[in-house]
């Protein structure tokens, strides 16, 4: 935690992306979260992902609700507009914003309280709406800003800092999203940047709703012995079933993948993800098989990570179903929207 603003001066030797921008230019204001917070690692991964994609900062829209996780949208890409809305209601802001301008990249950052308790209704419906956005849940099983209450993702038997044991079953956002037919579902760990960055990049480029559940430990209220969302427990129990490599458009797939273990998937903008199966029995394109696999592993206290499910052929994205104009609605000139006096005069005949 620091109150000192970092100067945005870049050393000339810092690497630049194809826009000539350094990673520093994708940073935001200083984090006010606790030192060691998993969320700051997620923020760093988002910075890396945007830099790697050579995204124009203003082409990104950052959205969030309320909570520690929701504060993080201020900590990356200061050149993008951000909307920190009300608790659990970020999906509706995202839906309206996306309806108005389909041309931008929408990234929502939420937490387990924001998404799985107060906001579960909006989460469920934004998945059903198949809104084109990346939705990150920074999942730590605990309410931080109100000092340590269990959240709806807390596992049965996990212990709170003050000693009480949780007895209510958790809501797993990955299983929830699979049930609702989400076409991009992933899980990762804030401590595994190598896995998280390509997932974020692929999620941003996926045409439709992309959910990444990021296990992101709370160092202050949920990093103790007996917690199932601590750094230690997570490191021991996360288990990558399928890794994803993100390949930007116009780049060759450089690495040789063993046949049968890798699946290249083309994204709608021409970029690709190559899925590397670490467990040969796993099929990320089969939704019900993925569901069973994840559920069985959860019963064994194993969090399966990686790109759990992807269906890039799906065409139910909101604007696609709505037949919305290809150009952003907010860019259509007024003259094309207002039918004019002659049309109105003619219309009046229907009401006599």
């Amino acid at each position: 935690m620091s109150y000192i603003n970092k100067p945005k001066v870049a050393h000339p030797s810092l690497p630049t992306n194809s826009l000539g921008l350094t990673r520093r230019q994708y940073e935001g204001s200083m984090s006010t979260l606790c030192a060691g917070c998993g969320h700051d690692s997620v923020t760093a991964a988002i910075v890396e992902a945007c830099w790697g994609l050579s995204m124009q900062p203003e082409q990104l829209v950052k959205l969030s609700g309320i909570g520690c996780s929701s504060k993080t949208t201020a900590y990356f890409v200061s050149g993008a507009h951000g909307f920190n809305s009300v608790h659990g209601r970020m999906p509706s802001i995202a839906s309206g914003a996306n309806a108005a301008n389909r041309g931008l990249t929408y990234v929502g950052v939420s937490g387990d309280g924001d998404s799985l308790s107060i906001g579960i209704g909006q989460l469920v419906h934004v998945i059903r709406r198949n809104l084109n956005m990346l939705y990150l849940i920074e999942n730590n099983g605990v309410y931080g800003l109100t000092k340590g209450q269990f959240s709806a993702s807390a596992d049965i038997g996990t212990k709170a800092k003050r000693g009480e044991t949780n007895s209510s079953p958790p809501i797993d956002p990955v299983l929830l999203a699979l049930t609702l037919g989400a076409t991009f579902v992933a899980r990762s760990f804030s401590g595994d940047k190598a896995q998280l960055v390509p997932l974020i990049q692929a999620g941003m480029r996926h045409n439709g709703f992309a959910l990444i559940d990021v296990l992101s430990p709370c160092v202050t209220f949920n990093d103790h012995e007996g917690s199932t969302k601590s750094y230690g427990f997570t490191r021991e129990h996360y288990h990558a079933a399928v890794e994803a490599d993100f390949v930007p458009r116009a780049e060759e797939i450089a690495v040789d993948y063993p046949a049968g273990e890798s699946i290249p998937v083309s994204l709608h903008d021409g970029s690709r993800v190559v899925l590397r199966k670490l467990d040969p029995s796993y099929d990320p394109t089969d939704r019900s098989a993925a569901y069973n696999y994840i559920e069985n592993k959860l019963k064994q206290n194993e969090y399966v990570t990686g790109l759990i499910h992807i269906d890039e052929a799906d065409n139910t994205e909101f604007h696609n179903l709505n037949h919305t104009a290809k150009v952003p609605l907010n860019s259509i000139p007024f003259e094309k929207l207002s039918p004019g006096s002659a049309a109105l005069d003619k219309l009046m005949g229907r009401y006599r």
Partner: protein
């Protein structure tokens, strides 16, 4: 209240009420009669009193034939078409003395016909229809058209006009046109052959509806949103606002779909609830689209949190509240003006909002367009407070007109060029000293990027918990609200303005008040009337309150919400204000206004003294 003005001559001046069963198709027959009279050049109003039900409960429709063009509900019934056995005895009681009762005499109900002061007109409708048509559903539907034929004969409604309307409805379905025409003739011919017609209450051709339409306020508001260039509509279905979005959708499909590609220049989001609906409006407006949501009282209650965010983060937002009877679920299909206070101060903390009060469908159209200009100019939520009576009933209105020279006021939005020319952009800085800051849209320029938040922020857009910084923004918001009236429609004054007694009112009370003024004038009571069209109040409202010694505040709720708002927001002395309240769920009529003003003035004649 035509009876008070000219009892003798009842041509083009009477009320017909239809008592029906919900879901039996009576609405089309009732509107057929109303529209035929309208096309004969005679002003009409139609009020639908329907249940919160899909099928089976009682429903009424009231047509007021009003040669003087009054818009309000009459408070009496001259002719009752009693088609619902369940409400029959109540319907008979409601008839005024000297009135006419039309009933289906297929099943005689002599025991109930115990009023000697009315004329009973028996017509064996079911028998006539059953003898001529097959199929249960078909017979039910056509019985309605048969009673329309009965009325046409009794009231002397032009049969050619009705035939013309039927042809327009069923022109492409010859079988339906044929059965409807035959059913109409069944009723019509029965009257002509068996009864004396027309009645003394009858219709004659006039020339008073030329240049007018019959339209409901939700249709007009939906059309206004299309003309204003709204591209995003978000909503959760709720009576009585649903038909506003239906209308918007219908007009968009007509005017906003590319005929070649099928691409749509609009997006409608049916949200999971009203919280999400208003959130979508905020998201879309923040992102530079004109966006709106139609709702009613329960929806407003749910939207409160987001409304506070829109106020504080200064996000434009247009909300149509088609008010219905509260509290709670209340009576969803009855009308009220009960959301004035909740809308004026919606959400926690110090918040206050712009309200517009349309009085009829015509104003719904114009105010819909205006609402977007105001919301974007002031960067704040704007409520258009319609009600069920305006929203769902057909009103006679002058033809809607559109000025092609109109340019939308998109408010203080910086372009990329503006930003390029600036050293630095600060979201909440009062650069022009008009209390309205500049905003930017996402996607335009990294230089214009800012972080929108409902948490404490300073004038530079940064997070703050500093008292002074917080207050700078709060105080500017207060100034912005105080300046708002110059962007809002002014109140309408009826009367010379120098009478001692005045009326202040809003919205759909207008028709009843104008009629009451005519009646009062007959007994030499002159009253000035100020119709408030917006909140925060214009300076003219303050002046009117000051200039009148006795002021009746007419509104349709129990708790005198408009009066409360006047006492809170102006310097008026409470003792000068007298409430006239109507909260039965039915649209207000002129009668209680006349009665209460007469009674009050009789009790204290000094009230009419002109203040010095």
């Amino acid at each position: 209240m035509p009876s008070l003005i000219a009892e003798a001559n009842r041509v083009n001046d009477f009320v017909v009420k239809f008592a029906n069963v919900n879901g039996t198709g009576s609405a089309s027959a009732n509107s057929l009669i109303m529209k035929a009279i309208f096309r004969m050049g005679v002003p009409v109003t139609g009020k639908n009193y329907f249940p919160s039900n899909i099928q089976g409960l009682p429903t009424w429709y009231e047509i007021r034939v009003t040669r003087d063009g009054y818009a309000a509900r009459a408070s009496h019934v001259d002719i009752m078409v009693a088609m619902n056995a369940e409400t029959y005895s109540k319907d008979v009681r409601e008839l005024r003395s000297g009135g006419y009762l039309i009933y289906d005499s297929t099943w005689p109900r002599s025991a109930l016909l115990q009023r000697g002061d009315i004329t009973v007109i028996p017509v064996p409708l079911a028998k006539l229809v059953n003898e001529n048509f097959d199929g249960v559903r078909n017979r039910i539907l056509l019985k309605n058209i048969a009673y329309a034929g009965v009325l046409a004969a009794l009231l002397d409604v032009d049969l050619d006009v009705i035939s013309g309307l039927l042809s327009e409805s069923y022109g492409k379905k010859p079988k339906l046109l044929d059965s409807n025409t035959r059913a109409l003739r069944l009723g019509y011919d029965y009257v002509k052959e068996q009864l004396t017609s027309p009645l003394p209450l009858r219709v004659e051709h006039m020339e008073k509806t030329r240049g007018h339409i019959m339209m409901d306020g939700n249709t007009a508001a939906g059309l206004g949103c299309v003309y204003a260039g709204a591209t995003v509509g978000a909503w959760y279905p709720i009576t009585p606002s649903t038909s506003l979005m239906d209308a918007f959708k219908g007009f968009c499909e007509r005017y906003r779909v590319d005929p070649e590609t099928g691409e749509r220049n609009f997006a409608i989001l049916q949200a999971e609830d009203e919280l999400a609906a208003v959130g979508m409006v905020l998201g879309a407006s923040w992102n530079g689209a004109r966006a709106f949501t139609p709702t009613s009282g329960p929806g407003i209650s749910l939207m409160n949190e987001f409304i506070g965010l829109a106020y504080y983060a200064e996000v434009p937002c247009v909300i149509f509240d088609v008010q219905r009877v509260g509290p709670s679920t209340g009576m969803p299909t009855r009308t009220q003006q009960g959301d004035i206070m909740i809308c004026a101060y919606a959400s926690h903390g110090d918040t206050r909002h712009v309200l517009l009060f349309p009085a009829n469908p015509e104003e719904c159209f114009y105010m819909a367009a205006q609402a977007f200009d105001i919301a974007e100019r002031l960067q704040t939520p704007v409520f258009v407070l319609s009600d069920l009576d305006i929203g769902m009933n057909d009103w006679m209105c002058p033809d809607l007109k559109w000025d092609d020279a109109y340019k939308p006021d998109r408010g203080k939005v910086l372009s990329k060029q503006d930003l390029d020319g600036m050293e630095k952009f600060y979201r909440y800085l009062d650069r022009d000293d008009d209390a309205i800051p500049y905003r930017t849209l996402p996607g335009m320029s990294a230089k214009g990027a800012y972080f929108t938040r409902g948490s404490g922020h300073n004038q530079y857009g940064g997070y703050t918990e500093d008292s002074a910084e917080y207050q700078v923004v709060l105080d500017r918001l207060k100034r912005k609200f105080a300046n708002a009236p110059k962007y809002l429609p002014k109140p309408v004054l009826i009367g010379k303005g120098n009478n001692a007694v005045g009326i202040v009112s809003i919205g759909s009370c207008d028709g009843a008040i104008r009629e009451a003024l005519d009646v009062l004038r007959l007994s030499k009571i002159e009253v000035d009337y100020l119709r408030v069209k917006a909140f925060p109040f214009n300076i003219d409202v303050e002046a009117f309150l000051k200039a009148h010694s006795t002021i009746f505040v007419v509104e349709q709720n129990r708790d005198a919400q408009l009066k409360s708002l006047l006492t809170l927001e102006t310097a008026v002395e409470k003792s000068k204000l007298f409430s006239i309240l109507s909260y039965s769920g039915l649209p207000i009529s002129a009668q209680p206004i006349v009665d209460e003003i007469r009674a009050k003035l009789a009790e204290a004649p000094r009230l009419t003294a002109v203040p010095r």
